[in-house]
C-alpha cells in the first residue's frame, strides 16, 4: 500500500509531460482522487495496526532504502492529498486565462506531489536529499511559470537559496555517513551519540533546512516567490513545500540524534521563531500589496513551528507531548488557512484586476464569498476560536506554562494580536463603501475551493482529536 503513494504521482507526472494540453486536465482530478483514497486507506491501516516499514526493492536498511509510515506521516500524506485536490480544482478554473502556463503547470504539480510524498515517507537521509531537490526544482519551476520579470527574479533567488540549503544538508549527510557508515535514520537513531561529527552535521543540516523553511534571518527569498506566483502555486508553496523541510528538521532533532542537540541550541531556534513572528508580522503590516501581505504572514506563522524545539528538548515528557501536539495542529491549521487565504486573495485579485490593499473598496459587496473565505482563514491564523489555529495556540501555551518558559508564552499571545493587526487592515478597507471601479466576474468554483479549505481550518478546531489520535499521541489510537 505504501509505495502506491509514490507510484501514482510519478505515473501521472509522466503522462502530463507526454500528453498534449486537453487530456492532461482530464486525468488530473481522477489521479488526485486516487491519491486521496490511497492515503486514507493507508491512514486506516496505520490507525489500526500501528506504524509500518516498507523495504524498497526488498533490501534491508543498511544497504537498501526503507519507507517508514507512522501516524504523523499519514496525517501529512492525507493533508497533502486534500490540499492538492482543492488547489487542482482551483487551478483548473483559474488557469483558463493562462493558456501557456496551463500546459506546464500540471507536470510540475505532479512532480511536486511525488517529491512531497517521498519526503513524508522516506527513512533514508540521502533519499531525503534527492526528494528535497525534486521538491525545490518543481517549486522553482512553478514560481517561474509566468515568465514575467519579477517572477523570474524571485525564482532565481529561491533556487539559489534552496541550492545553498541542500548543499548544507548534503554536507551533514556526508559527515553522518563518515561517522556511522549508514544512511538509514532508524539505524543512526539507535547508535547516535553526541560526538563532534554528529553535532556539526546536525548544525549544518539545520542551517540548510532553516534556509529552505525560510525561518527569520533566512526568509528573504520567500515573500517575492510566494507573493509573485500564481494563486494556486503560492497556496501549494506556503501550505506544503515549506513544511517539508520543517518536517525533516523535526525528524533530525527529535528522532535522529536527540542527545546531540543541546537545550541551548533549541532555545536559539525558539528565538529565531520569535524573531520570525515579530519581523514577519511587522513587514506584513507595512505591505501595500495584498499577496505580499499574505506571503509575509507565512514568514510570521512559520515562527510558531520553531517553538517545538525549545518546548520539547530539555523539558518534561508532558510538556514535550503538548508541544508536539500543538505544533502538529498548527502545521495542519496553517496549511488549510494559508492555502484558503492565498486562493481567496487570488479570486479577489482576479475580480479587482490589481493587488493593492488601499483600494479594496466595495469588495465585501461584490465578491462576498471570497472575502468570507479570507475572513475564516484569518480567524484561524489569528488563533481565535473556534479554529484549528486556536487549539494549536492553546496547546503551545499550556506546554510553555508547564515547562516554565514564560517568554514563549508572551510571544505566542502577542503574535496573535500582531496577526490581527495586519489582517484587519484588509477588512477595514474592504468595508469602505464607495466602490470606484468595476469588478470582473469570477467563477463560483474559485470561491467554493477557498471556502472548503477555510471551513477545514475552522472545523479542525472541533475535530482536533482525530489527527492527534491518528498519531497515537493521545490514548485512544491503537498500537
Amino acid at each position: 500500500m505504501i509505495p502506491l503513494l509514490l507510484i501514482i504521482p510519478l505515473v501521472f507526472a509522466l503522462f502530463s509531460v507526454l500528453l498534449p494540453r486537453a487530456p492532461i486536465k482530464l486525468i488530473a482530478l481522477p489521479g488526485l482522487v486516487l491519491q486521496l483514497i490511497a492515503s486514507l486507506a493507508l491512514s486506516v491501516q496505520i490507525y489500526r495496526h500501528g506504524a509500518s516499514d516498507y523495504q524498497l526493492g526488498g533490501w534491508e536498511t543498511p544497504l537498501g532504502i526503507t519507507l517508514h509510515a507512522n501516524g504523523f506521516t499519514v496525517t501529512l500524506l492525507t493533508l497533502t492529498a486534500f490540499i492538492a485536490i482543492v488547489c487542482a480544482v482551483y487551478a483548473l478554473v483559474y488557469l483558463q486565462r493562462y493558456r501557456h502556463e496551463q500546459r506546464y503547470f500540471w507536470p510540475l504539480f505532479w512532480f511536486l506531489l511525488a517529491s512531497l510524498n517521498g519526503i513524508w515517507l522516506s527513512g533514508d537521509l540521502f533519499n531525503l536529499y534527492v526528494g528535497l531537490e525534486l521538491l525545490t526544482f518543481s517549486a522553482v519551476g512553478m514560481v517561474a511559470l509566468t515568465g514575467s520579470k519579477p517572477s523570474l527574479r524571485a525564482a532565481i533567488r529561491y533556487l539559489y537559496a534552496a541550492l545553498l540549503g541542500s548543499l548544507g544538508f548534503l554536507a551533514g549527510v556526508g559527515l553522518l555517513y563518515g561517522q556511522y557508515g549508514t544512511l538509514a535514520i532508524q539505524d543512526i537513531a539507535e547508535i547516535s551519540n553526541a560526538a563532534a561529527p554528529t553535532q556539526v552535521a546536525i548544525a549544518l543540516m539545520t542551517i540548510g533546512l532553516l534556509l529552505k523553511t525560510a525561518i527569520f534571518p533566512l526568509h528573504f527569498w520567500l515573500p517575492p516567490a510566494h507573493g509573485g506566483a500564481l494563486a494556486p502555486v503560492s497556496a501549494l508553496l506556503s501550505a506544503l513545500v515549506v513544511k517539508a523541510s520543517f518536517y525533516i528538521l523535526a525528524l533530525l532533532w527529535l528522532d535522529l540524534a536527540p542527545e546531540a542537540v543541546a537545550p541551548a541550541a533549541a532555545q536559539l531556534l525558539g528565538a529565531l521563531g520569535a524573531g520570525a513572528i515579530v519581523w514577519g508580522s511587522w513587514c506584513a503590516f507595512r505591505q501595500s500589496d495584498l499577496k505580499m501581505l499574505v506571503a509575509y504572514s507565512t514568514v510570521a506563522q512559520l515562527g510558531y513551528l520553531m517553538f517545538l524545539f525549545p518546548l520539547s528538548i530539555g523539558t518534561s515528557a508532558v510538556a514535550a507531548e503538548l508541544a508536539w501536539q500543538g505544533t502538529v495542529l498548527h502545521l495542519l491549521a496553517h496549511a488549510f488557512a494559508k492555502a484558503a487565504m492565498f486562493l481567496s486573495v487570488g479570486t479577489l485579485v482576479l475580480a479587482l484586476g490589481h493587488q493593492s490593499i488601499k483600494d479594496l473598496a466595495g469588495v465585501s459587496h461584490r465578491v462576498p464569498l471570497a472575502l468570507f473565505a479570507f475572513g475564516l482563514s484569518a480567524v484561524s491564523l489569528m488563533g481565535l476560536p473556534p479554529s484549528g489555529g486556536f487549539n494549536a495556540k492553546w496547546l503551545l501555551l499550556q506546554s510553555a506554562l508547564l515547562s516554565g518558559q514564560w517568554w514563549w508564552f508572551v510571544i505566542i499571545l502577542i503574535g496573535g494580536l500582531m496577526t490581527a493587526a495586519y489582517v484587519f487592515r484588509v477588512f477595514r478597507v474592504s468595508f469602505v463603501e464607495e466602490a470606484r471601479h468595476q469588478f470582473a466576474p469570477t467563477h463560483w468554483l474559485l470561491d467554493v475551493c477557498a471556502l472548503t479549505l477555510a471551513a477545514a481550518a475552522i472545523l479542525l478546531g472541533f475535530v482536533s482529536q482525530w489527527p492527534l489520535q491518528l498519531m497515537q499521541l493521545v490514548p485512544g489510537g491503537s498500537g
Binding site: 509505495p3 509514490l6 507510484i7 510519478l10 505515473v11 507526472a13 509522466l14 509531460v17 507526454l18 498534449p20 516498507y54 523495504q55 524498497l56 526493492g57 526488498g58 533490501w59 543498511p62 544497504l63 537498501g64 532504502i65 493558456r99 501557456h100 502556463e101 500546459r103 506546464y104 507536470p107 512532480f111 511525488a114 517529491s115 517521498g118 540521502f126 533519499n127 534527492v130 526528494g131 531537490e133 525534486l134 526544482f137 518543481s138 522553482v140 519551476g141 517561474a144 509566468t146 515568465g147 554536507a171 559527515l175 563518515g178 561517522q179 556511522y180 557508515g181 549508514t182 539505524d187 547508535i191 560526538a195 563532534a196 561529527p197 553535532q199 556539526v200 552535521a201 548544525a203 549544518l204
Partner: protein, 326 residues
C-alpha cells in the same frame, strides 16, 4: 604521495582562480580546468565511474552550457564593495571551517563506524544481477534514488521548455501553433549555411566515434565502470557537436522528443511496478531477471538522459537571430 598534495593544491588554486578573476570568461575557463583536475582526483580515490562522470558531465557539459550562456549575458555591472556582505561571508565561512575541522579531527579519533557497507555490499552483490558495485547500488539496492534523480532531470527540462515557450508566447506571432502540439523549433542558425569546412569534417569524424564509445560505456556498466549517466552524457556531447556542425536534430519540441525525454523513467517505473503484481516489493526484480532488466533500464535511461542534456543545450532561451526558424 606528492602527487596527491600537488593535485589538492591545484584544485584549490583553480577554485580560487574562478572566484578571483573578474572577467566571467576567465572564470569559466578556470572552472573547466577545475573539473578536469577533479576527474583526476576521483581516479586517485579509486572511483573511476566518478572520474568518467565528472569529465563528461561536470566539466564537459556544464562547461558547454556555461560558455553558451556567456554569449547571452551582457557586461556585468561594476561590482561595488559591500563590507557587510564580506563580513557575513567571513563569519559563515569561518564557522563552517571550524565545525568541519573539529569534526574531521574527532573522526580520526573515533573507532571505525559500526556499519560497514563494503562487506554488506560484497555479500549481496551476486544476487543483484550485475557485478559492478556502483551499478548494483544505483539500479538495485538504492534504485529509488536513481528514479527520483532522473525525475529531477526531467523537471529541469520541463521548466526549460516552459520558459522557452513563454518568450515566444509574449511575442504573439505564432499563436496558431501554441495550442496543439508544440512544433516550434529551437531557434539556432538555419542548417547547411555557415558550417566551416574544418568543423564539418571534425563533426563527421567525431560524432560516430562518440556514439560507439557511449554504447560501449553503457554495455560495460554492468561489469566495469560505466553506465547510463556517463553514456547519456557522451550522447549529449555527440548531439551538441552535431548541433554546432549545424545538423538539425531534436530541435522540434514534438511528441517524439517528449517520448524520448520520458522513456527512461517510464520504462524504469514499468519494470519497478510490474513485479508488484506477482507479490514482489516495489522496485524489486524477480529473481534471475535482474541482470537483463537492469540492462534494459540502463539503455532507456541513456536515451532519456542523453536527450534531456541535449535539449537543455538546444532549447535554452536565447535571442531570435536573423529570422531563425519561426
Amino acid at each position: 604521495m606528492w602527487f596527491d598534495v600537488i593535485l589538492g593544491i591545484g584544485l584549490i588554486v583553480a577554485a580560487v582562480g574562478v572566484f578571483r578573476s573578474d572577467e566571467l570568461f576567465r572564470s569559466v575557463v578556470f572552472f573547466v580546468t577545475f573539473g578536469i583536475l577533479l576527474a583526476l582526483t576521483w581516479l586517485r580515490l579509486q572511483a573511476p565511474d566518478l572520474a568518467l562522470a565528472e569529465a563528461a558531465i561536470g566539466a564537459g557539459l556544464t562547461g558547454v552550457l556555461l560558455l553558451d550562456t556567456l554569449g547571452v549575458l551582457k557586461r556585468p555591472a561594476a561590482v561595488k564593495f559591500n563590507l557587510a556582505k564580506h563580513a557575513l561571508a567571513t563569519i559563515v565561512a569561518l564557522g563552517a571551517a571550524a565545525g568541519l575541522a573539529w569534526s574531521f579531527w574527532t573522526l580520526l579519533q573515533l573507532p571505525a563506524p559500526t556499519y560497514n557497507l563494503v562487506e554488506t555490499l560484497a555479500a549481496n552483490i551476486d544476487d543483484s544481477g550485475v557485478s559492478h558495485g556502483i551499478t548494483a547500488v544505483l539500479l538495485n539496492f538504492r534504485s529509488y534514488d536513481t528514479l527520483l534523480e532522473v525525475a529531477v532531470l526531467l523537471v529541469a527540462i520541463v521548466i526549460g521548455l516552459s520558459l522557452r515557450q513563454s518568450l515566444r508566447q509574449s511575442l504573439r506571432h505564432d499563436d496558431a501553433q501554441s495550442d496543439g502540439d508544440e512544433t516550434v523549433t529551437g531557434a539556432t542558425t538555419s542548417p547547411e549555411q555557415q558550417a566551416p569546412a574544418l568543423l564539418k569534417s571534425l563533426v563527421h569524424l567525431l560524432v560516430p566515434l562518440l556514439l560507439i564509445t557511449a554504447i560501449f560505456v553503457l554495455w560495460a556498466g554492468s561489469t566495469r565502470p560505466g553506465g547510463a549517466f556517463q553514456a547519456g552524457a557522451l550522447i549529449a556531447a555527440a548531439g551538441v557537436l552535431a548541433r554546432l556542425g549545424n545538423i538539425d536534430i531534436a530541435s522540434r519540441v514534438n511528441l517524439l522528443l517528449r517520448t524520448g525525454l520520458t522513456i527512461g523513467v517510464f520504462i524504469f517505473l514499468l519494470v519497478a511496478v510490474s513485479p508488484m503484481l506477482t507479490g514482489y516489493a516495489f522496485l524489486a526484480y524477480p529473481p534471475g531477471w535482474a541482470g537483463v532488466l537492469i540492462i534494459l533500464i540502463e539503455l532507456m535511461l541513456t536515451i532519456s538522459i542523453g536527450l534531456i542534456l541535449l535539449s537543455l543545450f538546444i532549447h535554452a532561451p536565447r535571442e531570435k537571430r536573423n529570422g531563425g526558424s519561426s
